[in-house]
């Protein structure tokens, strides 16, 4: 579903992503872990066609991210680190705008918006302008926006950052649900515990490289360590 092949991105002399290759299947949650500045966000942005790779290729659902960028943007749902909603628009208006940008049918769109708002317990707030929303509410609207058009691949960049425990729980439950629907999910985070709970496999990135990958059990075996945080620190430390 998602294949990256020797993908690289330079910013001047800095190699933000350096010949990174990975694969993720439908119905799989792939954790992308790494310290701040490891290249997680740059990787998401490359797959989301926001940035153009310096070299290498990647494809989403069989579509090349450079040659078929517009189709790629149709099949992915992207949750940026910051919710990024239009404050002078209500929750519904924000979602309508993005649905229309995905050329969704108006009737389908409004049904889907209602259904998702109810699911996230935001239906009562639907006609309030989002400028007054809490961080958790905004993150929920932002997540609804990412899945509104029923994308095959979800790119979630730190989806629980800044959320309190109940809100983070809602988000994680949703991710599980999306996985059950057969979506391929790239879950980028720097929280090991969260990753262990939700991810089928993980890739650990540091300085633009993959330093380790596999299931949690495989990572434990590779490192000869039980404590995930310890494994993470050791792997990341090796390259820094």
């Amino acid at each position: 579903m998602l294949i990256a092949n020797e993908l690289s991105k330079d910013f001047g002399s800095i190699k933000a992503i350096d010949r990174l290759s990975l694969k993720a299947q439908a119905g799989e949650v792939l954790g992308v872990l790494g310290p701040n500045g490891a290249g997680k966000t740059t990787f998401s942005r490359l797959i989301a066609t926001l940035l153009t790779p310096t070299s290498g290729t990647a494809s989403v659902d069989g579509h090349d991210i450079i040659k078929e960028s517009e189709i790629v943007r149709q099949v992915i749902g992207f949750l940026p680190t910051e919710p990024g909603l239009y404050g002078r628009f209500t929750a519904v208006e924000n979602l309508q705008y993005f649905g229309r940008l995905h050329s969704m049918d108006e009737r389908v769109l409004s049904q889907r918006i209602d259904q998702l708002l109810k699911k996230f317990d935001l239906y009562e707030e639907r006609n309030r302008r989002t400028a007054g929303f809490s961080k958790g509410m905004m993150q929920k609207v932002s997540l609804i926006r990412a899945v509104l058009h029923d994308p095959k691949v979800l790119l979630l960049d730190e989806p629980t950052a800044g959320l309190d425990v109940p809100a983070a729980r809602v988000v994680l439950d949703m991710v599980k649900e999306f996985k059950a629907e057969g979506k391929c999910i790239l879950f980028s985070t720097h929280r090991m515990v969260e990753a262990e709970k939700i991810c089928d496999r993980m890739v650990i990135i540091a300085k633009g490289h993959i330093v380790a990958q596999g299931t949690v059990a495989e990572l434990r075996q590779q490192a000869g360590q039980d404590d995930l945080e310890e494994i993470f620190l050791r792997l990341v430390g090796e390259v820094s």
Binding site: L50, F78, E82, P83, G84, L85, F89, Y97, L101, H102
Partner: protein, 399 residues
């Protein structure tokens, strides 16, 4: 490019702008209230001061009034002056208690009757006070008629006609009709106004919709949607274009309202000018405005994309404002500047000059075609440039 995408982005940006009070202020309140106030305020103030100075008799002091009874009678009959006493005329003048202090020599009547050396009359006035200068003018007029009647008497005593003194009889006629006078006034103001409101009308929307979108972290969410960068840039450009056009239209309506309705009603008929345009000239001016707004809106989108934040974009816009205002000012202060030679190809300046020529009724079709044609190319280049800036990840994701 996809029309559905462009339309979605365009309408969303318009709605977003209309919901923002700050934009509404620059877009509507400023042009339709401030422009007419500026236009009407100056003449209104001037004429009210003039009227005040002209209306009631001005207090003056005449030292040695008893020496010139005939002349004093003329002053009293004019009804323009109120004669008062003053211990210290110079100080009273400075304080505005009197408007003139006139000194008549002791043997005034005798000197006049002698028909030899002229009699000296000294007038003190205060040039900083309008009432004093108005008074001076009126006093001179009375002196003149006194002189004229004295000269006529002297001539008639010698059996001569006063016509002897007037070898030339002058009559003046202004061949510029009311419409042309109106055109001249519009030619001085409209290019400048067009420039200012084309820049400031859409500026806020341009900043908010690009730099503001970056600052609020909404840009990423927008750009991961299917619309191409072309569609995004064009959608935003169209929103800025519409807002700037509304502002320009409102400001022009403000100018016309000020000159056609408010000035004649408040100040007087002398401010009544015919501001009507022929259909062809009207259409030409609309075309000029469209080209100008297109160019400026596209450049504003590009400038805004360079800004990392709202503030930074605002700073860059200041430079654009000056770049457009300076040639506009030039036209106001150099009324004889005509559209010729290299001026035909300078962006913005050529449109200003063309506007002026059309309003003055002095336009030459070839010059106008060159100015409009080159501006059309600049406008297209400006749009292409703004889209290119939008496609640059260095610009869009810097900071």
């Amino acid at each position: 490019m996809n029309w559905h995408h462009i339309k979605t982005i365009w309408f969303k940006e318009l709605l977003d702008t209309f919901r923002d009070k700050r934009t509404l202020y620059t877009m509507i309140i400023a042009p339709i209230i401030i422009v007419p106030l500026m236009m009407v305020g100056g003449p209104l103030l001037m004429s009210s001061q003039e009227k005040a100075a002209e209306g009631k008799p001005n207090p003056i002091v005449v030292i040695g009034a008893e020496n010139a009874p005939t002349f004093m009678k003329m002053i009293e009959e004019s009804g323009s002056f109120q004669l008062i006493d003053s211990q210290n005329p110079e100080d009273d003048l400075k304080e505005g208690l009197i408007t003139l202090a006139v000194t008549v020599p002791q043997d005034f009547e005798r000197i006049i009757a002698a028909e030899g050396t002229p009699a000296d009359i000294m007038i003190m006035f205060e040039a900083r006070q309008q009432a004093s200068t108005v008074s001076l003018q009126k006093f001179r007029n009375i002196l003149q008629s006194y002189t004229a009647s004295e000269v006529a008497e002297r001539l008639s005593r010698r059996g001569m006609d006063t016509a002897l003194l007037n070898p030339i009889c002058v009559s003046e006629k202004n061949v510029a009709n009311e419409q042309e006078m109106g055109g001249m006034i519009l030619a001085a103001i409209i290019p400048f106004m067009l420039g200012i409101w084309a820049v400031s009308g859409g500026m806020y929307t341009a900043i908010d919709t690009v730099a503001g979108e970056k600052e609020r972290n909404t840009m990423e969410g927008l750009l991961v949607c299917p619309p191409s960068r072309w569609s995004v840039a064009i959608g935003k450009f169209l929103a800025v274009f519409v807002i700037a056009s509304i502002t320009v239209a409102l400001s022009l309506a403000g100018i016309i309202a000020a000159y056609q309705l408010m000035l004649p009603a408040i100040v007087g008929e002398e401010f009544q000018f015919d501001m009507s345009l022929s259909l062809g000239n009207g259409l030409m001016l609309i075309l000029i405005a469209v080209l100008m707004i297109t160019m400026i809106s596209a450049i504003e989108i590009a400038i805004s994309a360079f800004g990392r934040s709202f503030k930074e974009a605002q700073n860059y816009m200041t430079i654009l404002t000056f770049a457009v205002m300076l040639p506009g000012m030039l036209l106001v202060f150099m009324p004889d500047l005509r559209l010729t030679g290299a001026a035909l190809l300078i962006p913005v300046v050529n449109l200003f000059a063309a506007t002026k020529d059309i309003l003055m009724g002095q336009s030459e079709i070839l010059n106008i075609v060159i100015a409009l044609g080159s501006s059309l190319i600049y406008a297209i280049l400006a749009i292409v440039f703004s889209v290119r800036v939008f496609k640059s990840e260095k610009v869009l994701f810097r900071g």
